[in-house]
Symmetry: D2
Subunit: 357 residues, 4 copies
Amino acid sequence: MSSNKIRVGIIGASGFVGGELLRILLRHPNVEITVATSREYKGEYVFKIHPHLRGQTMLRFVEPDIDKISNSCDVVFLAVPHGQSLHMVPKLLELGLRVLDLSADYRLKDPEAYVRWYDWREPHPYPDLLKKAVYGLPEIHRDELRNANLVAVAGCMATAGILSLLPLVRHRLIEFDKIVIDAKIGSSGAGAHAPRLDLHAYRTYVVRPYEVTEHRHIAEIEQELSLAAGEPVKVAFTPHAVDIVRGILVTSHSWARGSVTEPQLWKSFRETYLNEPFVRIARDKTGMHRYPDVKYVIGSNYCDVGFDIDSRLGRIVTFAAIDNLMKGAAGQAVQCFNIMMGFDERTALDLCPLFPV
Amino acid sequence: MSSNKIRVGIIGASGFVGGELLRILLRHPNVEITVATSREYKGEYVFKIHPHLRGQTMLRFVEPDIDKISNSCDVVFLAVPHGQSLHMVPKLLELGLRVLDLSADYRLKDPEAYVRWYDWREPHPYPDLLKKAVYGLPEIHRDELRNANLVAVAGCMATAGILSLLPLVRHRLIEFDKIVIDAKIGSSGAGAHAPRLDLHAYRTYVVRPYEVTEHRHIAEIEQELSLAAGEPVKVAFTPHAVDIVRGILVTSHSWARGSVTEPQLWKSFRETYLNEPFVRIARDKTGMHRYPDVKYVIGSNYCDVGFDIDSRLGRIVTFAAIDNLMKGAAGQAVQCFNIMMGFDERTALDLCPLFPV
Amino acid sequence: MSSNKIRVGIIGASGFVGGELLRILLRHPNVEITVATSREYKGEYVFKIHPHLRGQTMLRFVEPDIDKISNSCDVVFLAVPHGQSLHMVPKLLELGLRVLDLSADYRLKDPEAYVRWYDWREPHPYPDLLKKAVYGLPEIHRDELRNANLVAVAGCMATAGILSLLPLVRHRLIEFDKIVIDAKIGSSGAGAHAPRLDLHAYRTYVVRPYEVTEHRHIAEIEQELSLAAGEPVKVAFTPHAVDIVRGILVTSHSWARGSVTEPQLWKSFRETYLNEPFVRIARDKTGMHRYPDVKYVIGSNYCDVGFDIDSRLGRIVTFAAIDNLMKGAAGQAVQCFNIMMGFDERTALDLCPLFPV
Amino acid sequence: MSSNKIRVGIIGASGFVGGELLRILLRHPNVEITVATSREYKGEYVFKIHPHLRGQTMLRFVEPDIDKISNSCDVVFLAVPHGQSLHMVPKLLELGLRVLDLSADYRLKDPEAYVRWYDWREPHPYPDLLKKAVYGLPEIHRDELRNANLVAVAGCMATAGILSLLPLVRHRLIEFDKIVIDAKIGSSGAGAHAPRLDLHAYRTYVVRPYEVTEHRHIAEIEQELSLAAGEPVKVAFTPHAVDIVRGILVTSHSWARGSVTEPQLWKSFRETYLNEPFVRIARDKTGMHRYPDVKYVIGSNYCDVGFDIDSRLGRIVTFAAIDNLMKGAAGQAVQCFNIMMGFDERTALDLCPLFPV
């Protein structure tokens, strides 16, 4: 392991997102993973908890300790539950580390929004850091990411929601006050310490709505789409648990401003995504596979987007499919990291979707 | 088998809906199944194709033959593909039989609608029969069903879509021009002779949009909701295949007329469904199970409905969950049959959902 | 609720087996469920925890209290974890109740066996009760069940294992020292309070061996097969978790004593099971469904058995498929209860398997 | 694409195995895929049939034409149904190509075995080619693979079966006449043109035995284990369909020769597999993951093996878990190809299992 590799720490490495960061970064030619923390499994071999990594690494989990981390890392990925990054981030930054936070703690620009959406008692205590934090969605913030010290990696639902609507919003093709996002998500989003309802026998065979009107990712989606529009955009959002482990499909229903034609839609999607390495436009008039489907992105960092016009009613339907652990979390974090570090954005992310699965 | 039982024929008995009709009617105390037809499996024991029925019946499949059917049946259930009922129905009616057609061939009142929605070259050739046919959804047409000779059993998606919105439409709580129905459905809807994309390896792990703007059940839903409203109601409808076998959940997103309160919603749902034996209002403020979920209706004739208000945006979200083979097909057909025959509506339908599955 | 109904208590009613007992007994014409206990959910409506029962019962959970139970019940079903029945059973019997224990606490006749197989520190403290307890498998102990006051309902794996081999053992067709049972089981066997490995994301897509040589049900299987053989029978047993919720398939591999013919196998299975209301011989030479499959018994009390001869090697392969919550637990318990009470054995168990699911 | 790359053709590229070959070989630094054939989809973009490959290749399917193939390829992978390779192989070899045949047509050394196991009317017509063909299982035939012109890539079930038993057979730890292999396999093994029983609604929720005594892979397993033993080894084999898409777990039950200790087992496994790049010994005394499980190898070329002793009965239980499309087909073929070509055996196969899935 050459000394000119970036030394990376993964805080919260025993969960699903931590496992994905390991899977990706173990193959990153410019990275040496020096620290993987887990309070629950400290001292244990990483492959005992992530049995797919058997034979891939002899790394052991250590307890999270800011001093040790700062001595042995250049960059830290925080894959910890919401609320736990809050006070770690300023410490890590002060110690000169660069941080990619996969929690929600630095995603929202408005300190009050944490009271509104995350039930915090007080506004966010580090408003300056909120300003400095770059929202980790390269399709919108690539330039700012290049010099970022703190990246607040976009949420999984938010990534799919934003990318499904970004072309329509940028090109002002739809009305901004009656947008509906109907999302479907697998069980891995709930994490490795999920509650009883996520037991296999309870979680199979579901199509289960939850947080029907108040899902927290609404805040991110509205923040970013409003930024793209230059005016307030509101989204109504309802997620549903479905019987898969990985994957999110969002279906966005919106209403055309005046008459919108298919060539206009094509143009908006092409202009937005033509040079994006991880966005594929999946939209065919014929054949078996005409729209995005989570089945075709599993294991990869792709976001497949697609669209159709309901010309009878003036509705525009758009789709985005992602693997929530990849483009919705670990893959996107590494994409941001590559941009921060000046590496080719695709390094270690050239992972083909696994099909069929 | 006493002679005062109703003699019932099932045309198209080797498919999934045929199997469900058998499962239900074999336990119906007032029914004797005299005919079960299958061209493909004629001569074969029914339990060879429906192995769950082993030990339940020694019936054999016969070829569909109108004369034989008319001699041995009083009532016929048609569980055949769309288009195949069209000319059978008048013949069966002329021979004095009563008919429950589970195909779409007699559901729409407007003969031209078959050209528009079903790609028929000509309008429906029996407009008088369309008038006589009763749309088989007891929650709307119970009284007409009592004396019906021809029932066009409601479609699976249509049943869920209509029942999710009926209270809002009857009580005029929502705007009628921007209703979105986002549906999720299992694989059994595609039938036992489905194409390659329905192979297990292709059909697992999907969240797959299809017929995104032009699904045929839109015609039924608009017909019935417009009837309930007394004015045209339009619905935008997008279905998604998900990785379950049975079950439909529809999520209906609509926009409140003025301000709508939760008590108003409760009132509308209670007034519409309080006396309905197969509609359960699943709406809890706390606990693990707050909204309808397909998991809780599998194997039963229940339609679970629920709702919520997105007061921030004036959106109303409603849900309906059904087992597509039961309340979406065979169960509903038997419910209609019971009403037609003057039996207790619940006869042979007192089937508890199977949980967990 | 007429006073000549049997008053039944279900202790441990919030788990999956408890839910199945409720599903079955709510439809039992001779039963009134008077008590359903749950420490965790006392005071809560039963349907809040078992959402499929919404609309079926307004029963509430109560805390388990022996005195209250004894005052309001004639018969008690114990659906509690292993070890918790041990001291409740003698108390309930002393109070004059009849007991069906679904735990393992009274299944083994040898008090020492609990030290060997269940890691108890001491032998079973109630050896007299072990003698009185009837092993709850009607296919072997129907006559003793008729007057039983204490039934130790057979284990799920044990039921399938024993029934797959009983004809071979009774007819002495196989060698008794090299029997292999390879079992496959769904997730509901782990119960509603299962550990992290039973979370959906961990439990999907598994074919996972566990307790590879020391599964506790071996003790029951050997006890009952030795009884049937009149000499010691040993079984090697290895279970595997598979990605379904309900269901067990056991595949039993054994070696013929001398040459065994197919007619001999047929004879042994027919003689053993011909009059059994819940055992179906699923063995066809042609067709799509030639052997037992869990898919065809889900939701029912059936045990499907089948067999084949590997004449090249002198191996006999037999199968048994059950729904572990039904014939493997709640269904079998009610079957035993019906026999105890002198009811038709099939009362409330005339539940057709749900197919497809 | 540099001219010093190996030009590779994939015959039968539209199926699942073809898709995996594409997924792997598109990333192989020494390979240029020049031909991908499909009769059904000729002219179509590959990504239209393999939607996960969208954005990865603009290759189109062409019709299989021996002359064109020979002009544009150095090496050919045959991913065609059994029987279709038979006459193509000699033609391709005559034209100077090197061939990796993924069908069974050249796996068995005994020409008569095709009559016995594959129902051919005549013995294999090319016995000389059978002799030249190298059985494509690197763990046994690595040296012969180096100069092979024809590789008969091992079958999926056979690979798992052989690797689960090879250490025991080589070290003569078990009796060779009473070996039982109980296999569990996903749906992708049935291919992309599978019959009705492989439709999703029929194939979910199964634990379904099939070809219970006469599975064709027995011939390969016995051939290779007998070769390893230097004397005849017989295996009794029963496969089961389970509700996953990828993956095979075999559980091999055998009986110890005299007393066998755990250190002896460890020694036999270590000696057999220590230097194997794709075999992992998964055997832990503690922790959550003690034995092989298909869940931990999905998407990779790993074969995880494990073992335990049933000392009470003298049974030895061994396991092997593979992804049937990878180590059971495409991955193994590329591993053989790498050896043939003198590349590092792991080239393009450094694919981490995807977890959780």
